[in-house]
Assembly symmetry: C2
Homo-oligomer: 328 residues x 2
């Protein structure tokens, strides 16, 4: 297609590979390259024949790329790369450090505005799709309560925390909603739930040789903030079992808004995700929002944006008239 | 509040009354009047003290109203009133004759554009929230299938059809998703389902004196399009039971998108509603979208719009900065 949207990625971890895969499901897009900090020849694209470039080449490639999807991490990569790249490209990223979003937004807004670029930040499912449902739930049912549950799923942050415990050779952590809590919330009783009442945490750990299992268990379950407020199980497994049974990255969750439109009438809105692969789904969300970012840019909407600023119709390859005729 | 959004309604049926109720949950809005084709003195507002005017006074009241919510029916009222009122006011309506949406859109777009007004059409939950989830589901998971289930709920159109059968004194119809079908769809197997496999229809009927129950039952279950493609039950009840047990208007349903991001990875997105009162919830949706309509108008976005054109953040009374800080 002559007018395909040209997409590139900066960074080639799980998320970047997911973007390469997702592009193949979107015929109105073309994948034009992987930009990496590693030696380009060491990177093996998921998409056969995809060109690999050094990150240093990006400034010279501004005319080749419609939207650059930033696939780096929120802690180190995005705060450093984001503002620099937002001056040169339309960008989409999955910045997910909730507390620092206003600061990151401001750091992206200035260079994007100054250079008439569009920078869509914090895209994915949380932040992202779940955020949309929190905002819409509250707006549609102002007299109500919102609950977000995560899981069953592999939590990257909590798995990292487990792996930092001395004596742990490998570890993963699954977050699971407590079914009784989900039922209460669906029943529209607006319960006030503690972390322990809402989620439990199940850890699978491979011990280092000679490590003290009970000491490791104690270090995990008492870890402040990460585990001490939850019922946590720790199961010790072999390296083989870790490799065979815990490589998938499932996730998901629910956003439930219950509220009253009048004293006797209760309404419940629920949005839920059940994901075999968290990075592939997140990448697929980034790609759909890259289409919207391209269109926002074409219509002169410059600066930093979030999913709250994106009309749903812009996500679809179909025209507004086609969507009205077929899907309204 | 000095800068409250001034909302009025045209039409005072279940939906109009729902809007009066919903406004009370939204302190940034003020209800400024009911406009009716009936004698104004015959209309009893739900909101104590709400002014009631004749529809004929609307043209003289353009300066008093920020958004006029059109609460008439899709069959007779909106096609006739809508275009006339869209020339004078920013409007929101719940036009729900899916097949005629493009035509209705065009009829609202021209007068709204010519007069620099914003006309948001087909708002509610289907068309409306469900439509958004159909479009987003398809955009986020292009390789997939979407299923919409309705119910358990009272269907207005099918209840009307039951009541038109000779011998029926009163009747209601409940649409119910077939649980096995819902399970199949949630399981991501992308089944192809017939109407009969997807929903069943349960009717409750009060017979007229002397009516032949079996003839009435046959007339209902064989009614083309409405019932013949479904498993339909007809239960005969007394006028008292109809009055006592079938006055509520519950509804709801699910939009489920399942798809593959790669050959082995399946993802399922589900949006569901469980509504005690269909008209109160629909009204609450209209009110939130009235806020968005006011803002679209303030930003110069004139003409007819649909929910696909509305960024989610515009539904919330909170500022964009507040939403980013608190809800992203």
């Amino acid at each position: 297609m002559a007018d395909q949207i040209r997409i590139a990625i900066a960074g080639h971890g799980n998320l970047g590979r997911g973007v390469e895969t997702a592009i193949q499901k979107n015929p109105d897009m073309r994948f034009v390259g992987i930009y990496t900090r590693r030696a380009p020849e060491s990177v093996i694209p998921s998409l056969a024949g995809a060109p690999v470039f050094s990150m240093a080449e990006l400034p010279g490639h501004a005319g080749r790329i419609d939207v650059l999807i930033l696939c780096g991490g929120s802690k180190e990569d995005l705060p450093e790369q984001g503002p620099r790249l937002a001056a040169l490209f339309n960008t989409v990223d999955s910045f997910d450090t909730h507390a620092r979003i206003p600061e990151y937004f401001a750091s992206m807004d200035a260079p994007a505005l100054a250079n008439e670029r569009t920078a869509l930040i914090s895209v994915g499912w949380d932040p992202g799709l779940f955020s949309i449902n929190r905002v819409m739930g509250e707006a549609l049912l102002p007299d109500g309560a919102t609950h977000t549950f995560w899981g069953d799923g592999l939590s990257q942050g909590h798995s990292d925390a487990v792996r930092r415990v001395p004596g742990v050779a490998a570890g993963v952590q699954y977050t699971r909603p407590v079914p009784e809590a989900v039922d209460l919330v669906r029943g529209a009783s607006r319960p006030v739930l503690t972390p322990r009442q809402s989620h439990r945490r199940d850890c699978f750990v491979v011990l280092e040789d000679g490590a003290d299992a009970e000491a490791v268990r104690q270090a995990i379950v008492t870890m402040p903030h990460y585990f001490d407020q939850y019922d946590t199980t720790v199961t010790f497994i072999s390296a083989e079992e870790m490799e065979n049974s815990h490589r998938a990255m499932p996730h998901g969750g629910f956003v439930i808004r219950s509220g009253n439109t009048s004293s006797t009438q209760t309404q419940v809105v629920e949005y839920s995700l059940k994901l075999d692969s968290n990075p592939e789904f997140t990448a697929s969300v980034l790609v759909a929002y890259a289409r919207a970012t391209h269109r926002l840019h074409l219509s002169g909407q410059y600066g930093a944006k979030t999913v709250f600023d994106v009309p749903p119709g812009l996500l679809s390859p179909k025209s507004a008239a086609q969507l009205r005729a077929e899907q309204l």
